[in-house]
């Protein structure tokens, strides 16, 4: 099931390279292919038993390089299943979203499908090398999407993105090898590593942990390793931005949960306060820098730093203690996972909205707009919902995540949680300012001809925003699965 979800889009990508089809056909083919992982996810969701005491379910394992303990091993726990879900939904929405492919429709859709397979492969990986390979392949896919379909400065931004995150992945590889070498016999099997806690008490455990966190932190990104993010977002075409923020950033935070938190519990608990401080700095710094941006897309890009900061705070709190406050820590970890889902849906929608604006006006400057609300009511409504979701209004999924993270984190790091809360306030201020400047107030006649969202745009945005509402009002199906995962994750290692 999971393997199908990974391989179907990769096969679809190959097929698109081989088949000579037109733009429309390519798009519909890609949409159809992207429905396969979505269906596979729904099947996996149905098959997943959140009451089971087994952490990883739907496991497939095939030996690959037995001498070094590398194998194709995939499976999911509650955390992974949630992230897989948002990945499949967001990819389908983005692929269906009308994009300017500049006459190169087949490679565009091929790269999107390639990226989907790679992302799903990472989230279901239960082997460090499989994880690493997909981690790096994602760079390749995103590099081409940005450099070939981006705006004017795309080549440089794409290269910066590539080099910077490659640096991160090298650090990650060193950390992984450090983990695997401590096993006897050597293995990259995540389940064995989680059970064994290989480096507990070892002198160089901190170095390994720092290497892992550096690698994953660059990808997340946390301040001060975030500067590749705005550059990449500003130059990337909007659908690529939506995927970069919505899915690729999750690889970093998801990796933190999967590798250091799960496999190096003792060392993680020692380093967690530092990670917590980094998270709070990311929250506040990201929010303030976002408030200082006049460019809509950069502003949204920096809010990703804030939101991923919430996630990292939740992860730090979850792993901050070896014993005690179990419920609160599970709550924080569940919140961190829900935040990944929420951020994927919401920021994905926000970036698609910037794409719709750019398609019409080729302008990202906030001050260029004003009073668009009655001219483009559907675009306005979509933005208002997405903005309020992003600033954490109850009834929308972002609030669920933030409430869990802050309430859970408070039990472990009360001061950090209290300071981090200010980020919620600044985020609110910056989104209200954006709404006010772009959509409210007086409209100049210049925008009289602006078109509202068309059916395809409404479809993609509608799905994403409907999910933010549904999961905000009735999050039970999502929460139960994720909560089972985080409880087992913290319990199994404790």
């Amino acid at each position: 099931m999971l393997t199908t979800a990974v391989l179907a889009p990769l096969a679809g990508a190959l097929a698109l390279v081989g088949l000579r089809v037109g733009e429309r056909a390519a798009r519909w083919l890609a949409v159809a292919v992207s429905l396969v992982p979505l269906a596979a996810f729904l099947a996996a969701w149905a098959a997943f038993d959140s009451r089971s005491a087994e952490q990883f379910q739907l496991v497939t394992a095939v030996e690959w390089l037995p001498t070094v303990g590398v194998g194709y091993r995939v499976g999911v726990d509650g955390v992974a299943l949630a992230v897989v879900g948002v990945t499949t939904v967001l990819f389908t929405a983005v692929i269906a979203f009308p994009a300017d492919t500049r006459g190169r429709a087949r490679p565009w859709y091929a790269w999107l499908l390639f990226l989907e397979g790679v992302c799903l492969g990472l989230f279901v990986a239960l082997d460090l090398i499989v994880f690493y390979v997909f981690f790096d392949l994602s760079l390749v896919g995103m590099y081409f999407l940005i450099s070939r379909w981006g705006h004017a400065g795309a080549e440089a931004a794409a290269l910066k993105f590539f080099l910077y995150t490659l640096l991160g992945s090298l650090a990650l590889l060193i950390g992984m090898i450090g983990l695997a070498l401590a096993m006897d016999p050597i293995t990259f099997d995540m389940r064995e590593l989680i059970a064994a806690q290989p480096l507990a008490g070892a002198g160089h455990a901190v170095l390994v942990l720092v290497a892992l966190l550096l690698g994953l932190g660059i990808k997340t990104p946390v301040v001060p390793f975030h500067t590749w993010l705005p550059a990449a977002h500003v130059e990337a075409p909007a659908p690529a931005s939506a995927l970069l923020a919505g899915v690729l950033l999750k690889m970093g935070a998801f990796g933190m949960i999967r590798i250091p938190l799960a496999m190096m519990r003792e060392t993680f608990a020692a380093v967690a306060p530092v990670l917590g401080v980094v998270a709070v700095v990311s929250i506040l710094y990201g929010a303030f820098v976002a408030l200082g941006q006049g460019d809509i897309k950069r502003r949204i890009a920096y809010t990703s730093v804030t939101h991923m900061g919430y996630t990292v705070l939740g992860i730090a709190a979850a792993g901050g203690l070896l014993a005690g406050a179990e419920e609160a820590r599970a709550l924080a970890l569940t919140g961190a996972t829900i935040e990944m889902v929420a951020h994927g849906l919401i920021t994905g929608a926000l970036f698609l909205i910037t794409g719709s604006l750019w398609e019409r006006t080729a302008d990202y400057a906030m001050d260029a707009y004003g009073g668009l609300a009655d001219r483009v009511p559907r675009l306005t409504a979509a933005t208002v919902v997405a903005a309020f979701a992003s600033l954490g209004l109850p009834g929308l999924v972002g609030f669920v995540a933030e409430f869990q993270i802050f309430v859970g984190a408070f039990a472990v790091y009360p001061v950090l949680a209290a300071v981090g809360l200010l980020g919620v306030l600044v985020t609110a201020a910056l989104f209200l300012q954006l709404l006010q400047r772009v959509f409210l107030g007086e409209r100049s006649g210049y925008w009289d001809g602006l078109r509202d969202l068309d059916a395809a745009e409404q479809g993609s945005l509608g799905v994403l925003l409907a999910l933010t509402v549904v999961l905000g009002v009735a999050p039970a199906p999502l929460l139960d699965v994720v909560d089972a995962g985080s409880t087992l994750l913290l319990g199994a290692a404790g």
């Binding site: 390979v133 080099l163 303030f288 409430f403 309430v407 006010q436 409209r443 139960d480």
Partner: protein, 647 residues
Amino acid sequence: MLWLLVGVPLLAGAVVWSAERWTRVAARRLVLGAFAVAGLLATLAVALWAAATDASAAHTVGGGLRLLADVAGPAAVIAVLVPVVGAPIVAYAAAQEPLDGLGRLLGLLTAFVGVMELLVVAADWLTLTVAFELTTGLSWALIAHEWRRTSAARAAAVAFNATRFGGLGLFLAAGASYAATGSLAFSDLPGVAGGLLDVLVAGVVLACAAKAAQLPFAPWLFAAMAGPTPVSALLHSSTMVAAGAYVLIRLQPALDRVAWFAPVVIAVGLVTAVAAGAVALLQAHAKRLLAASTSAQYGLMFVAVGAGYPAVAALHLVVHALVKAALFLAAGVAIRAVSSPMLGRMRLRRSLPATAALAAVASLGLAAVPPLGGGWSKEAIVAAAGGEAAWLALAVVVAGALSAAYATRFQLLAFGGSGGSGPPPPRPPLRTPTSTEQAAIGLLVAGSAALGLLWWRPAHELAARALGGEVPAGEPWQLAASLTVTVLAVYGVWALDRRRRLGHVGTEGRSAAAGAWLGLPAATRHLVVTPALASAAAVARFDDHVVEGGVRLVGAGARRTAGWLADGVEPRLDDVVAAVAAAGQALASASERGAERAVDGAVAAVAWLVDRAGADARRSHTGMVHHQFVVIAAGVVVVVAAVALGR
């Protein structure tokens, strides 16, 4: 079933908003208004049922979280109050507000009642936080209703940010509660102790002070005046602002376990009551005068809660809700009549005699003149304060005198006769209120007059019991002093008006500056907003130049290294290669040529790779991908080597 209390108005709001599309313009006011009022009457029915049956409800959110609701303590009475006040207000709005966006306005007003009901019945921190934040969000939409005015949009953001800042206090309280007891339910609050209890109380006080427009947050209520009049009427009477006082009233038994709770709440309330009273006395803008008065009245409720009599605060909340809603609606009529919100241009007694008479009753209620209910609840607050200290009772008497003064001033300026003073009365054509508007005001005034029953001992004892509290036994001197001062204040303002001195207050000079919330909005702007925005811009520049600069420096260094390798090292490598090649050429046979080519090629490839990384973005990716696999291969080699060595 208790969730119907929330669900009915939310659904009604959605129906009203969408009904705008399919109703004919001619029938729109009637249809939308009827839907909205019907929705609120249904809500009232549910509230009465809930109060009668002492209903409670629980809803599992998932992941161990639950939403809890009950009608314990003051909840039953307030749950009934909200739709009672809301229904006349939506009827008035349907009759008066512009057709453009009427569905949205009525829909949001109706939905607001539902969100407030959720807040009223909330029995755990999650439910309370959800409701609290939703009122903040909906208030943004309502204040920004006339969104084409930039000032309205900006004012909505001010209100949102101020009350959201307070809302963060509830997150803290929830965190503290959960950390202490592993539960979010109010029923587990007795288990919270120590430093966590201090955090919890501080969080709740912060949240309530911001929501109830107490100092230093009071000025957001001025900004909120950018919304339509019915919005102000609803927000100030029984919802938004009331939420701040209500939460304090409901949680008082849990909060009062901290020694500093009572003094802090009394201090905040008293300072706000006096300062806001002075501001109201000096305001020349009709709605702002009423807004300042709202802050002042909620300040008195804070004093009552701090003094240990939450039931008295709740009764004052009920009395104030009816009076203030009526006064805002009357002010709306006056503002529409003269097309200006400035009090100096009104004096509408002759033109709008019925509205003026209704407003007079409400104003007397605000002035706390017996036998109106407002008089009783204010005297009860004086008595409650007297239980703490005699000076506190006197301070409340002073605040009460200010209420009497500004209420009188409002009535004389807005609905007084020309009396030979002030500017000439406005000429026709005046816009006169429809019968719906009159009826709405009349209902609210009738309700507030009926509350005069509270002076009757069995009535107020029954009411206090219904609210789950008791009434303080005041001392005779307090009542005598309070009534004397109230009468003097009313007379003083009236006498001032006779000397034609009232109309000019607050329109210019120092009194105008003081009327603008004693300069607090400007101070907030200069001390908080502008520095925050400036620092955001500065941090953004810092991020672009310094943090990013560091990265760029590394990049530049790498490029320079690459350049050095390419220009300095590579030719030399080439020389070496050439030399080797030459030697090889000279010495080797044809079979050796293959190996030589491989070495040459590898060296050239490395040099090419280093060179391209810095210089040529376009072609480097192939190099980097290649690099990737080299790295993977290298990693595998390291691993294999390690295994080999380790065994």
